[in-house]
Subunit: 193 residues, 2 copies
DNA sequence: CCCCAAAGCTAATGGTTGTTAGCCCTTGTC
DNA sequence: GACAAGGGCTAACAACCATTAGCTTTGGGG
């Protein structure tokens, strides 16, 4: 079933470039040198294609987050690791992340509710991370919500402009954005990790 | 010609909520209690509606920027003022900014090229602001480009989640984000303005 | 009172699109 | 060498949509 995977890849590329609504099944098929109706031998529908991309992306992001924060209890290190994972995921899966952020509106129920729930969970993780740091007296923020939005938005923006062959390497961006994040929350105990 | 303005307002609301492609002329008309074809007595086309919204928005943003940086030569104050203007504009015109950022793909030539040019100009302004601060030894950044993207992305993110009746006031967000921006570029001479 | 223009309506047009139906060729297997 | 299935194709369908054509209503100015 390699073909189904090729179709998903082609769809992802076109959804990223033109958007879901502006991409036709014929466009996706043409990328593989076949005709639109042939796609239905491999995938259920256009909507299904989007749903698979989006839920897989959100699950991947959450998994990366959990792996990142799972190894320590130090709030400063946890936020750094979480931001690194966040940024790295958005750089390494920029198309998925881009589509995942922009096409929630195009997702039809019940998939939309599911993806929104995953996203809310992810946002809550960051808020708790920051709250823990504030409670420990290690962070100084005016609004936990604002700081978490800011960090999360950096990743979303990244997925819009980042290119693998750009002038900035993945590691550079990851490092720099983690510094930004710690600066945003006024972290004191600079860890150096 | 109040009707044309009502139509633009209705279109803006729906473009924000559903996206350009997912909004039909019938939807826009229904908001005003009339039928789709009647819109053509007041506006040229759906595409024209989008083009007007987007160019007006970009021009407004640039104007706000120029007004903000025009009163001083101090790089620190200039960046603070520019960020304040950037954030305030995105908060106060969140729908326009949101559509302006997300629907560039839906804009057809030659309008698209025009809006992209304005946007590139706007981004260049921020880069120059930061470069000036670095040259003056007041900012310390690893990458000017990265820092400017980060600041700009904060505004875009803002336009996605900000609500006038939310828990954060416009002034709070403006102040906090300006602090973030100065932190991002490692500003030394905290001005206090 | 009449006229005309503004602004609405319905009907129709032309195009696009997701999806289904049904057909055919290839290929690997018994 | 038949056969079944995988995977492609064309044709057709049923919506939907932006836009145009052409008709009707309405209200203000002469």
């Amino acid at each position: 079933m390699a073909r189904a995977e090729e179709i998903r890849a082609a769809a992802l590329e076109l959804f990223t470039e033109r958007g879901y609504q502006a991409t036709t099944m014929g466009d996706i098929a043409a990328t593989l040198g076949i005709r639109g109706p042939s796609l239905y031998k491999h995938v259920a529908s256009k909507q299904d294609l989007l749903a698979e991309i989006m839920t897989a992306t959100m699950n991947g992001l959450l998994a990366a987050h959990r792996a990142a924060v799972g190894t320590t209890d130090d709030p400063v290190v946890r936020l750094r690791r979480a931001t690194e994972a966040h940024v790295r995921y958005h750089a390494r899966h920029r198309r998925e992340a881009f589509v995942g952020n922009r096409e929630i509106r195009s997702l039809v129920e019940p998939h939309r509710a599911g993806v929104l729930a995953l996203r809310a969970e992810y946002e809550a993780c960051f808020r708790e991370l920051i709250e823990a740091g504030v409670a420990a007296g290690l962070f100084r923020v005016t609004s936990v919500r604002l700081a978490s939005y800011a960090i999360l938005d950096l990743g979303m923006g990244l997925s819009a402009w980042y290119r693998e062959d750009g002038e900035l390497s993945e590691d550079e961006v990851v490092w720099q954005y983690s510094e930004f994040a710690l600066g945003l929350v006024g972290a004191r105990g600079e860890d150096g990790a």
